[in-house]
Amino acid sequence: MSITKQDFNFVRDVVRSRSAILLDDNKGYLVEMRLSALAQKEGIDDVQTLISTVRDKGNISLRELMVEAMTTNETSFFRDRHPFDAMRDTILPELIEKRAATRSLKIWCGAASTGQEPYSLAILLRDSLPHPSLWDSKIIATDISPEVLGKAERGLYTQHEVGRGLPAAMLVKHFKRTGLEWEVKDELKAMVDYRRFNLVEPWMGLPKFDIIFMRNVLIYFDTDVKKQILTNALKYLAPDGYLFLGGSETLLGLGLDYHRVNLGPVSAYCPGA
């Protein structure tokens, strides 16, 4: 049974007001799929009952779980590959040379999800630095969902998860077997600082970054919110830093103070028109 228009509109309004993420009208299937899983987990009969419990009975904790379920993304190690190739081949060698005097490199991963992207960046950074222990290198990994951040911090992945996108040589170097799962080694975990962070709330407590990864998250926001987030990001990006967006995301037409840099099959954005 598919979700009614009335129920969809209610979920869309709640998600928008709580996270500023805008669900398109054609995302009914996504609402159905994500909330079915939540209903099952919470022991609720079906999606309709779940929605009416939030709407008619004002169940706040269930409402937050609903927002969380709708804002979580599927991910994999080195997802889409090309941005990571550009990082390894061009961006990191350039910035490591430029920062040789300060020995400091900071990366922000703005949609950490279950940790695959921040750990992919940590692997590249660790393997690129000439003497990792002599550098103050850090990845700040943020997400709106405490549940996914918990999984990310544990750094435990199934055989299927490490099979997706992660080269075998990196698996044996940076992971250890823990029972049937694979666990990120401590030295890599220590490079990543996980924090809950809502991109649409005031930005506080962030340092200046050399690289910002904000991939596949802006697609959920309308133009005004997107512009606000990207304007904020400019304040936290080093003048010679790089911003990476998802493959289908662009700054074109937003009139922001960035210029595009082509890096083979992908682009990044740098401050300044």
Partner: protein
């Protein structure tokens, strides 16, 4: 067209891998152990990748990898272990012997495609 050699003593596994690889545009040859694999390679003249099981009667997968890597004419061949051996030590042993990638059974079509993509052989 890309060419792949599948070396596995399980007929079912060879069928599954053949199906996955054909969907990715590969021409396939199959072998039931390492010795048959070496013979098949000779007959094929060239191949892009060999997908190799570990435990097989006759010549096993790691012996096959050593034998292939000892022959200059196969220097361009990519080797992907596809095995139920999931210990880190086994993976290291295979990589040191000259395997380029490693897939742990059970696997999915997505994993095979991802690993071939890492070798530059799939999108």
């Amino acid at each position: 067209m890309k060419r792949a050699l599948i070396v596995d003593d399980s007929r079912t596994m060879r069928m599954i891998l053949t199906k996955y690889l054909r969907a990715l545009g590969f021409e396939i040859k199959q072998a039931g152990n390492g010795l048959e694999g070496l013979k098949a390679l000779e007959e094929m003249e060239w191949a892009d990748v060999a997908l190799v099981d570990w435990n097989m009667p006759g010549m096993n997968g790691i012996e096959f990898v050593h034998s292939v890597r000892a022959q200059e004419k196969y220097s361009e061949l990519r080797i992907m272990m596809v095995t139920s051996e999931t210990d880190v030590e086994r993976m290291l042993q295979a990589l040191e012997a000259g395997a380029d990638e490693y897939v742990m059974k059970p696997f999915t079509q997505e994993i095979i495609q991802d690993k071939l993509s890492l070798l530059g052989l799939a999108a």
